[in-house]
Symmetry: D2
Subunit: 409 residues, 4 copies
């Protein structure tokens, strides 16, 4: 990450939310938007115009194909990562990610950091209906961005530079000068407020063939250099029978050798290992319970199990869970998907998916603490200064949790 | 159906099971077996040898590819239906179907009658573990077949013939003579006992394109002449997202125009309309309740609905249920499967599946009553002379219904 | 029932709803209202004033304690049943019941007919929020009552009298003259419309002690003369552990001797046998599925079973279900409740509740058909002339069935 | 606690189980047994005889009424706590608790420490069927006790004494001398093995009246001196409608003022707040998911909620959860129970139950670490040296988790 990588403070009275602190202002801002939606596209233009005008030192970064579409709309250069030939990963260059779209857009943004142990903060906007992961309405984008930008009472520091490798998405020169917060100071309502961060744990996922060798992941989750390492997921990993309307057989093992133990064999449509964040996604539809994102855990949820007695299970996040494709599936491939993206190549009998909750740590002295692991999600602030606000609000307002019987007003 | 088509009597004290009555002995016996299983194949040989030796007037009928595999094992001719050029449907020729395999084999046998309003009785055997639909252990095959053959105190009548169109599966001449029950009389333990029949209702299913025109079904469910008529299913019809790990949108309408009404739009992995028989199949895995096969009803069960408030619904069997592929699926095909067989061609936005429970009627004076509709499943008899036996027994013995907690013996 | 007892016609195109037909206008109208609610009480006065003024031949009948409270508010006499000394049951006197309140009021009204094989039609109004059983908003009471009163194109017949035994709730003389529909003819919008009736099946419930002797029921369900006969329930019969926070053990048997068979022993908070009508009441809360009132069936739903594999079961309505208090409960009484009314005396080990769906029959030639069994519920009519209207509408509007995720408008 | 209070080490390779370490041998052993069971009583005698003979320095402690029943069976004195006049709590005197019975006995034993922030280790035996909480079969009691007694490679230290206040349950003199492990050394199989401990988190529960004042708890949970402090529960706290078959209204609030927020109002039979340990108890029956005891969390599970959309929720253990009796229950008391023991006095409208997961901490340098909070449960050791063993084994062996369909062996 660049020199302006965010830090967190846990000196907050609010339930386990962290406070965002920048050592220097965020500089390289990655914009991720939903595809094929004109309103979203127009909003993106409005958003980026504003950012560039108000925070001229920032660099605007896009995914290559978006940069391609968008670069001649601007008078200033835009940047991208992973152009052909390049193999600089996003997390090495991006200080802040901001999304326009729904939960799917946030998941996609997270997938760009699927090989990164440390992910920059995510500020997400939705255009219409709020998603469950998305925190801000687009109409508040100016206030929201400012709040994030100035978060953490920072002293005004000269830029440490260090983002030379960001590739120009179009053709223009690099925007290089940076003066920190000084030029926006006057506009600040007082830097007394820090943005609050919900650190969302991810899953660490590895695929293994029948001889225990690693299988490569596929884009967008793949490692730059195709090293077959683990990837990270925000919601879940899914094994599924796919299009064949017959039962899949998946054996679930718990723990690491030599303490590994068979939990059971699921005979089912499929099987999910989810994060608490993912507990309100697919797992919810499959009958899983709702787990607060701060409960350090993994959810095991079967999909349509041919059993009366398969209840969802919640394990400590540090449990290694192995899903082994059973011999009884011989001949049939089992589909594997991560956060809603299906791997082209399915898994055959004997292959394994190994999953564990990522370790989340903060390190360093209070106030200048860095974190490792987790997707730092910037939480909506509002009149209700309550840390639970957004999550309880989402349950009631979006998921219609325990929605009352009877006629509507 | 041939002249020896079975009749039923409802003059039974046992809960709603019917008694099987043949006007003359069943003559054309269709053997359906599980594929790719040597033990099953060997059992089939043993079974057919026994039948031909003991009931020489019977004709042994097989599916074409089985007849092909098997015909030179026998010294007597075997028959088949639907050879190339032929378009005689099974139900016009078969007096009794007998299966060797599991539930899947029974479903397959039923699919051969998917276009028939009247289905001959089914006597099913399993080799190993009993299925939930299958009633008899193979080791009892001699007793079971005899019991069925002599069911209903029949007077000995000369054959009425009338099965001339049954095609020889190999090359031999037609076995034609038939003397009724006379030659097995001596072996009868007394014809006081009738085989009991559980009449399993089916679904009637039509597919319609966006302009309301019928779409053809695909084999094995297709009509001989490719007339686009309704087909019948024993378990369920399934709509599913298939291999794409994204939500399907399916609108469910209830009733016939002009009284048709939208129940809801399911946003889900898929949606099931099941028979009570199918309530212990896929619907059970999706959280449906267990419905006794004699409750005249349809089950609506969503698969992984993105909703906290989608509870399975049970409707009267005579309700017309329409599943309409929603515009929100535009671009994606929704898979449709019947009794575990997927249609190659999926459904696109605006297309509909229309489902209603088939009407089951018995007609004619008591004792010589014919039936229309339903799959007459010959129920296992045993020491417990209870009609509920097999169903309650299946719940406890096979599905482990309310299986007690605690250590096993 | 009196001479003006209603008849039904099933000559209706609408799904299995019946059409109401009076041989002569309904005369004795039972008013049942929710207690302790001033608004309801005032509405009752308004309602009865209107009825007496518009349909002077009708007799207004109340429960004794209501008659007592209310009689001096009127210039005309009011009637009651079951005054001390009397043992005339409601169903012998009442032609039409009309309720003001919620579902609880309808259940209470039904309980007054808990010993009657034939129940007069019920016209129910709710003041505020509609219940799931209640069909009409009170503001429509004039139109609703008229529609019911003239239902079935009746020819104008002189009264057949025959309600002499209706007791005066206060002191006044009996209102006796009756001229049929003649005097309201002019006001009729044309008698082309029949009220539609949903016939709700009930449960028939008997209680038995350890030696197989009947136990008496308690008011309001008790028989007049305390004969220990079966009573009828509209929603369900409930067995429950009551206040002791320990598991109850209840054995469920299915079928009648000698074909009775043990389904299972529930180790649970309690156990429910419900009608389809009751499927949206307690059974729903316990995880039961939603069963349309016209599916002829019984629902078996455990309450908090100590089992992973106890799934709700739906049986044919004519199945005898026996709930036996297990010896393992020795020392503890199990509470028994019917439609939300708890019996003072609980049940001890060895005692049984026997339940079967009531038989519903219509008899006589079409057009003048009487029915036996069921609670004839007068369904709301509206612009949507659809029979499914009220039920599907209730699922969506009241129970928030599959209520969509996302922000409210 | 006495000088011999146990310590724990987390230097174990096994998943989050702790290792038991005694600074000096456990001296005061509390025996808790199931009541009214002769076999259990006889086993208790055998057990205590063996302990006294083999570990003569130990003091045998019983609940007063057990001591009363049992003391003249022994030649040595037995002790008790909380005799009349005494107000020494168990946790001040007991070094090790050992139970004979099932889960109920363990819960009862835990209730004796319901006011203690630090609980001595529990070694539990079952006579017949293992419970889910109970770890050892009684037949292994000699080996099990020895393993616990010598756990942690202790050096042989002279007794630090300090258990002078243990009251004699009968009449005999105090057993006072103590020589540590020396006299059993020879019998040791080598002290290389430590007993492994699963630290079970509890709930901290306070009751409050309408004006926010504390309400007292009742025995066995009450504080000695009737100080109205919080108590601890091992499974759950339950609010329930009790014997009245009508819905309870309970409002659930989350967080501490000023960040407290209403989650929802449950309209239900009742409501549970459970520990992960309790996830396999009542919560499981109410549809909750299975949560591993080491997931630091609270479970919110409604009982028969009148809602289609009330899904169980899992919150971080440090969340303050408030259950407020809603005004809509006016007139009716809501029953409150802790770990299966009902409080005589119910709660009325406006009263509150406040619940939070207890904080579990270990402190001190590795190896001599003390813990605060949690019930240290001594886990069965066996040939499978796997820490997950007992829990996964319990799911499969006892709860019949995902029990396979099909015929038994
Ligand atoms: N039957 C189901 O419920 C299915 C669910 N999914 C979920 O969809 C996710 C992918 O999302 P999209 O690409 O948008 O696919 P999509 O277009 O199929 O929509 C999935 C829906 O889930 C919501 N969602 C996603 N993550 C969520 C979370 N953590 N909490 C609450 N709601 C969440 C989205 O807002 C959207 O409404 C997968 O990770 C999986 O969890 C995918 C397939 C089927
Ligand atoms: N997740 C699930 O539960 C799935 C279930 N199925 C069911 O499988 C059926 C097709 O069967 P197969 O070809 O054997 O496929 P299969 O090989 O996938 O096995 C399906 C299983 O369901 C059992 N089964 C079938 N019908 C049943 C019934 N009416 N009651 C109880 N158990 C029943 C079979 O014995 C077998 O164990 C479909 O009609 C569908 O109901 C199909 C796909 C997924
Ligand atoms: N946990 C639960 O869900 C409980 C439910 N009940 C139900 O309450 C009924 C008694 O009703 P009340 O005297 O009003 O008691 P109540 O005041 O406890 O309210 C029961 C609720 O159930 C509704 N209800 C009643 N019958 C219904 C039906 N057939 N379909 C849909 N909703 C229905 C009522 O409108 C009311 O909202 C019982 O027959 C039982 O079914 C009773 C106790 C607990
Ligand atoms: N419907 C239900 O499931 C009910 C459950 N209970 C549970 O019973 C507990 C009290 O136990 P007892 O005094 O023995 O009452 P009990 O005699 O009613 O038996 C409760 C059952 O739950 C088991 N159990 C207790 N704690 C457990 C745990 N943590 N995990 C797995 N199984 C467990 C016991 O072995 C026993 O089989 C309460 O704390 C409550 O959790 C109490 C009432 C109703």
């Amino acid at each position: 990450m660049t020199g302006s990588s965010a830090r967190v403070s846990d000196q907050t009275t609010q339930h386990d939310l962290l406070a965002l602190q920048w050592p220097s202002p965020p500089r390289n801002i990655l914009f991720v938007r939903k595809d094929d939606d004109t309103a979203v596209h127009d909003a993106l233009i409005e958003y980026t115009d504003h950012i560039k005008a108000t925070y001229p030192e920032t660099n605007l970064v896009f995914e290559p194909y978006v940069a391609q579409q968008i670069h001649d709309r601007f008078s200033f250069p835009v940047y991208t990562v992973r152009e052909s030939g390049s193999n600089v990963p996003y997390h090495a260059k991006v200080d802040l990610t901001t999304t326009l779209g729904g939960d799917g857009t946030i998941l996609h943004a997270a997938s760009l950091f699927a090989t990164a142990k440390s992910v920059p903060p995510v500020l997400s906007f939705s255009m219409g209906t709020l998603g469950f992961l998305g925190e801000w309405k687009f109409k508040d984008f100016k206030r929201a961005f400012r709040e994030v930008y100035v978060s953490g009472h920072p002293s005004v520091l000269p830029s440490k530079g260090g983002n030379a490798d960001v590739t120009d998405g179009g053709s223009g020169p690099r925007a290089d000068s940076m003066t920190g917060w000084s030029n926006i100071r006057g506009k600040s309502m007082g830097s007394s407020r820090s943005s609050r961060i919900l650190m969302r744990n991810r899953l660490r996922i590895g695929l293994f063939d029948t001889s225990g060798e690693r299988l490569p992941h596929e884009p967008p989750f793949a490692h730059q250099d195709n090293k077959c390492e683990d990837i990270f997921a925000l919601n879940e990993v899914l094994l599924h029978r796919g299009k064949l309307p017959h039962l899949a057989h998946i054996t679930i093992l718990i723990g690491s050798p030599p303490h590994q133990r068979t939990l059971t064999t699921a005979i089912a449509d499929g099987f999910l290992v989810s994060t608490p964040t993912g507990s309100t996604a697919y797992s919810l539809s499959s009958g899983g319970c709702i787990v607060h994102p701060l409960v350090s855990s993994l959810l095991l949820t079967p999909i349509c199990p041919r059993s009366l007695s398969f209840r969802p299970v919640v394990l400590p996040a540090n449990t290694l869970v192995t899903l082994r494709i059973d011999e009884l599936n011989r001949g049939k491939e089992i589909e594997v998907s991560v956060d809603g993206v299906r791997r082209q190549q399915g898994l055959r009998a004997g292959m394994e998916v190994r999953v564990v909750g990522e370790e989340v740590r903060t390190q360093g002295p209070p106030g200048t603490r860095d974190w490792m692991g987790g997707v730092p999600s910037i939480v909506r602030s509002g009149h209700a200064a309550d840390g639970e606000d957004h999550w309880v609000g989402g349950l009631n307002g979006l998921l219609k949790f325990n929605y009352p019987f009877g006629e509507d007003g």
